[in-house]
């Protein structure tokens, strides 16, 4: 009896319990099956000429450019915001944290309308921006970046704030004893310490911006080469030509997955 147990234990240890494995398998299936559907329905014979259609490439380029710019914009504003939430005690901090997540629960179309009400021609700031600087945001590429940033920034802020909370703040004390002020400590110690979380947040942010549809079409409209990103092109293709829509979706999928995999290998594993 004891002999049987003795041999059974080390072997069982490496096994994954069925109670986890089965739902995990279904979970993966649930996420991957729709992609399989896209791949199976793709018009492989006409794929090359559809891919080289200028409209598709223009939309793809615009998507990658705006998502990248939106990520940079979110990093510039979101990282300090995450730092504030993680490191500074101030009244109403819980409220501010809740406000940061609003774009997550807001339907993106509503987000787009809200942006119009602020930055639009008759918006709270839009009129002033136009009159003072001659800057109009709706229907421009900058408007696309703004709409994508609005929707994607919470992903960055939440990821970076989590990383900051998990990081040992005594490293910052150590930096202070070595003569580093708060800003130097932030740039030379805090940011490198949370680099993996920062990278994860930026990647999530970029991916969300790349797939953005509702806020973009509402705030920035849809015009090829200027504001028509890939998701908008896909949606319109769906109106007339299901196969074109599938091809465009696949392109978006392949480009985003390969960029994410490349980044993950470079950044995430070096942590």
């Amino acid at each position: 009896m004891s002999r049987a147990l003795g041999t059974a234990v080390p072997r069982r240890r490496g096994r994954v319990p069925a109670a986890l494995l089965i739902p995990a398998g279904f979970g993966l299936l649930f996420l991957v099956l729709p992609l399989t559907g896209l791949v199976l329905r793709a018009p492989w014979t006409t794929l090359p000429q559809r891919l080289t259609e200028p409209g598709a490439l223009t939309a793809l380029r615009l998507s990658v450019q705006t998502a990248t710019l939106a990520t940079v914009f979110c990093l510039l504003l979101g990282v300090p915001l995450a730092w504030l939430l993680a490191r500074v005690e101030f009244p109403g901090r819980r409220l501010v944290r809740a406000l940061v997540t609003v774009p997550l629960v807001l339907p993106p179309v509503v987000g787009g309308v809200a942006l119009l009400l602020v930055f639009g021609r008759r918006g709270l700031l839009g009129g002033w921006l136009d009159a003072t600087f001659g800057v109009t945001l709706p229907f421009t590429t900058a408007g696309v970046v703004l709409a994508e940033s609005f929707v994607a920034m919470p992903f960055l802020v939440i990821a970076v704030e989590g990383a900051l909370r998990a990081a040992d703040h005594r490293y910052e004390e150590a930096a202070a004893t070595l003569g580093a002020g708060r800003w130097t400590t932030f740039t030379h110690v805090t940011l490198p310490l949370v680099a993996p979380g920062l990278a994860a947040g930026a990647v999530l942010c970029w991916a969300r911006a790349l797939g953005e549809f509702g806020a973009t079409i509402t705030f920035a409209g849809n015009y090829p080469g200027r504001t028509q990103t890939m998701p908008l092109a896909v949606y319109l293709a769906l109106e007339t030509d299901l196969e074109s829509a599938i091809v465009l979706s696949l392109v978006l999928l392949v480009v985003s997955v390969s960029i994410l995999v490349a980044l993950r290998d470079r950044w995430m594993t070096s942590a």
Partner: protein, 265 residues
Amino acid sequence: MTGRGGRTTLAAVAAFAVLVMAGCGGGDDPGSAGAAADGRVTGTVTVFAAASLTESFTRIGRDFEAANPGTTVTLNLAGSSALANQINQGAPADVFASAAPRNMTTVTEAGNADGTPSVFARNQLVIAVPRGNPAGVTGLAGLTRPGVKVALCADQVPCGAAARSALDAAGVTLTPVTLEQDVKGALAKVRLGEVDAALVYRTDARAASADVTGVEFPESARAVNDYLIVAVKDAPNRAGARAFVAYVRSAPAQAVLAEAGFQAP
């Protein structure tokens, strides 16, 4: 140990099965009964209707229920092409009302129509401008003035195709600031004052009359849009579907459509 592992597995499979069944539910709903023994129409009639029919079909549905006690009209409102795709993928629709002949063709060519579709309403374009018409637009030519921002529907959707025909007929070339995914999107830009004008259907402009004024223009006669209706072949409630199609073409329903700004076929 084995017995325990087996139970967990079973529980997971059962949970998955419940999920799957929930997703496919409703197929055998006794509510969609169809014709009763005496020929009266009963049960649920599921109507897939173009989004531009939202207001009028809500009223027509209520009137139909009043005229046929024991029926319930369920509306699924979306873009015509999305609805056509859903029907061809086997969605349980009884009636399809399309805003564009092309999307109706998609369904008939797939063999999913019960009979021949019929035109039940027509719609024309107007120039929607914000209340007070700040840019002073009076006709298509006014849209080309510098500084006038115009929203059109994308060419792929019916209102965009109609706008293209009307502009071509008038010989007007203009660069819009945006090509909207649907007529409601174009109208929203007008309501918010982000554009000075948009080419939309008269019915849509009328529904938004609180914020928007519709400016009629003669070239719109060159781009009339036909609305078609048909019963779906595999309709769960075949009798209900036929009765509803007939009702839409009756005088009371036509009056509702006219009030919304549609023209009679």
